[in-house]
Amino acid sequence: MTVATQAVAHPAHRMTVRQLTPFYGKRQAVQAVDLDVRPHEILALIGPSGCGKSTVLRCLNRMHEAIPYAHVAGTVKLDDTDIYSPRIDATLVRRKIGMVFQMPIALRTRSIYENIAVGLRLGGIRSKGELDGRVEQALRDANLWDEVKDKLALSGLALSGGQQQRLSIARTIAVVPAVILFDEPCSALDPISTLKIEALLLQLRERYTIVIVTHNMQQAARVADRTAVFMVEQSAAVPLGVLVEEGTTDQIFSTPKDSRTEDYLSGRVG
C-alpha cells in the first residue's frame, strides 16, 4: 500500500487546543492548556492523580459539559472546526471524537451485536445487511471477532473485562470517528488484557488520531509518540492542574525540561 492511498483511505485529523480552561462550577480545575494533537499520533497525557488529565480529555469531545455545573473556556478545534461553536451539536462532536472509558461498559441489557449496532442505528444505518457488515468489521478491527463471532446474541456481560473493553473500542470505531480518546483504558484490566489493548492502540494509530490518559508511565513509554505531563499546583489554595511540558515521548523520558517532570518520572512525586 502506498503512502498516497493510505492517506485517502484514512484521512488525517488534527486537534488544536488553545487556552482551554475547564471549570467545575466556579472552581477552575486546570490552568489554561495549549496543546496540539497531530494526525495519526498517539498523544499520552500523564501525571499524578487529580491533576486534571480526565478533565482535559473530556473537554476534547464535549463530555465535560455532561456534568451539569461544569463549563469550559477557550477553543478546541477538530481540523478547522471549532467544536464549541454554538452551531455545532455536541452529540455530533461525540460521534466524530469517540471516547473509551476506564470501566469497560458493556451495555448490559444488550447483546454483543446490539452493543455495536445501537451506535450505527443512531447514525442512520437501518439495513440489516449493512449493519451486519459494519458490526463484523468493527469487531475485526478491535481484534475481538474471532472470540465472539459465535456468541453475538449473548449479553455483553458474558465477556471478560478485557473483551468488554475491546467491545467498547469496537463500539467507538464502528461509527468511524476522526479521533479516539481513551481515559485509562487499562487500569481495570489484567496485564495480558492490557498488552492486547496496547497492541490494538498501535494498530488503530494507522487510521485514527489518538489521545490516551494513563497513570502508567511504562504504558505511555510503550505506546505514545508524544507525551504531555500534567502536575497539581500545590501552592494554590485549591489544587489546580497545570500542563508542565509536552514533547516526544523519548525526549520527555530521557531529557525532561522541567524539574517537576523529572521528579515525577523518577518516582519522587505522585
Partner: protein, 331 residues
C-alpha cells in the same frame, strides 16, 4: 507486649460483636414473629372456609343449616329465615306479647362466594395501575435524570406527602371529586383513588432504581453520540428495568389491599359486575362487610376473603422474586 494488647483488644471486640449480633437476631425475630403469626392464622382459618363455590359464585343470603338452601320465592329470603317461625305458632294467650323465638345465629349457613370481589379487586387495581404506570414512570425518570431541576424538588416533595397521606384522605378526595360529581359510586372512581396511592410508590422506586445505574453507563451512551433522551430510554431505563418492574408490582400489591379509598368510592356490589361506571365489589371491602355481619358463618367468609387477598399479595411478591432472579441470571 504489643501483641498482648492487641489480643486483649481482640477479645473485647469479640464480646461487642457477639452482643450486637445477638441484638440483631432478637430484633429480627420480634419483627418476623407477628408476620408469621398473621399469615399462618389467616391461612389456617381462612383456608378452611374455602370451597369451589367460594371462587365461582357471588353473594347469596345466608340460610339456616337445615333448610337445605330452600328460598322463599316471594321474598328471596330463605323459607325459614333466621330460624324465626313465620307461621306464628300457637298462641296460648292472645294478649300476651308475641315473643319470636330467639334466632340461633350459629345455625345460619353462608352460601355463595366472593367471585364478584375477586373480579372487582383485579379490575380496579389493574385499571389503577394502567393510570399510575405512565405517570409514575415518567415522574420517576424526570426525578432521576433531571435531579437538580427545581421542578423536581417540588415533585419529589409532593410524592413524599402523597405516599404519607392517610389513605382515607385519598378516599374523601375521590368521593368529592368523582362520586359526587358523577352522582354515582363506581369502580372507576375507586381505580382513580388507587392511582393516587400507586403513583408516588412507582415514581420513587423508579427514581431510586435509575439512580443506581452507574453514571458511566449514561456517559457510554452519551459518548456514542446519543442524545440524552435516547440514552435514557434505550440504555438507562432498560438497565434498571428489573427494579422498575418490581416497584410496579409492589405498587399493585399495595393497591389491591387498600380499603379506605374504596370504602368511599366504589360502595360495593353484591352481584358480579364488570361495569367500571357502576358500583363494584372488592375483596378488602367484602372482608370489612363480612366481619361486621352478625352471622358467624359470614364472619368466617371474611377470613376467606382475607386469605384470597393475602394469596394475591404473596403471589405478586413471589412474582417479583422470580422476575428479579430471572433477569439477574443474565437472560
Amino acid at each position: 507486649m504489643t501483641l498482648q494488647t492487641n489480643m486483649l483488644n481482640y477479645g473485647g471486640r469479640r464480646v461487642v460483636d457477639r452482643t450486637l449480633r445477638g441484638c440483631t437476631v432478637v430484633a429480627t425475630a420480634i419483627a418476623i414473629i407477628p408476620l408469621v403469626l398473621i399469615i399462618g392464622y389467616v391461612l389456617v382459618v381462612g383456608g378452611s372456609s374455602l370451597n369451589v363455590a367460594f371462587f365461582t359464585q357471588t353473594y347469596m343470603p345466608p340460610v339456616p343449616a337445615d333448610s337445605g338452601g330452600a328460598v322463599d320465592p316471594a321474598t328471596g329470603l330463605p323459607a325459614d329465615f333466621a330460624g324465626i317461625d313465620v307461621s306464628g305458632g300457637t298462641l296460648a294467650d292472645p294478649n300476651a306479647p308475641v315473643v319470636p323465638a330467639e334466632p340461633d345465629l350459629t345455625q345460619i349457613q353462608a352460601q355463595g362466594g366472593v367471585l364478584h370481589g375477586i373480579v372487582g379487586t383485579l379490575l380496579i387495581t389493574l385499571v389503577g395501575l394502567l393510570f399510575a404506570l405512565p405517570i409514575g414512570l415518567m415522574a420517576g425518570i424526570f426525578l432521576a435524570e433531571y435531579p437538580s431541576n427545581s421542578l423536581a424538588t417540588g415533585i419529589r416533595f409532593c410524592c413524599d406527602v402523597l405516599s404519607g397521606a392517610p389513605s382515607i384522605v385519598i378516599g374523601v378526595v375521590g368521593y368529592t371529586l368523582l362520586v359526587q360529581q358523577a352522582r354515582t359510586y363506581s369502580g372507576l372512581a375507586g381505580a382513580v383513588a388507587i392511582t393516587f396511592l400507586m403513583v408516588p410508590t412507582i415514581a420513587r422506586t423508579t427514581e431510586e432504581m435509575l439512580k443506581l445505574v452507574p453514571h458511566a453507563v449514561r456517559e457510554a451512551a452519551m459518548a456514542m453520540g446519543a442524545p440524552k433522551w435516547y440514552g435514557t430510554l434505550t440504555v438507562v431505563v432498560p438497565t434498571a428495568l428489573t427494579g422498575i418492574v418490581t416497584g410496579a408490582l409492589l405498587a399493585f400489591a399495595r393497591g389491591a389491599g387498600e380499603t379506605a379509598p374504596l370504602l368511599l368510592t366504589i360502595q360495593g356490589n353484591s352481584n358480579l359486575s364488570y361495569d367500571l361506571l357502576a358500583p363494584m365489589a372488592a375483596l378488602p371491602l367484602l372482608t370489612y362487610k363480612y366481619i361486621e355481619s352478625p352471622f358467624p358463618a359470614e364472619n368466617q367468609l371474611a377470613w376467606g376473603t382475607a386469605f384470597v387477598l393475602l394469596l394475591l399479595v404473596l403471589g405478586v411478591n413471589l412474582l417479583v422474586r422470580v422476575v428479579t432472579t430471572r433477569i439477574k441470571g443474565g437472560v
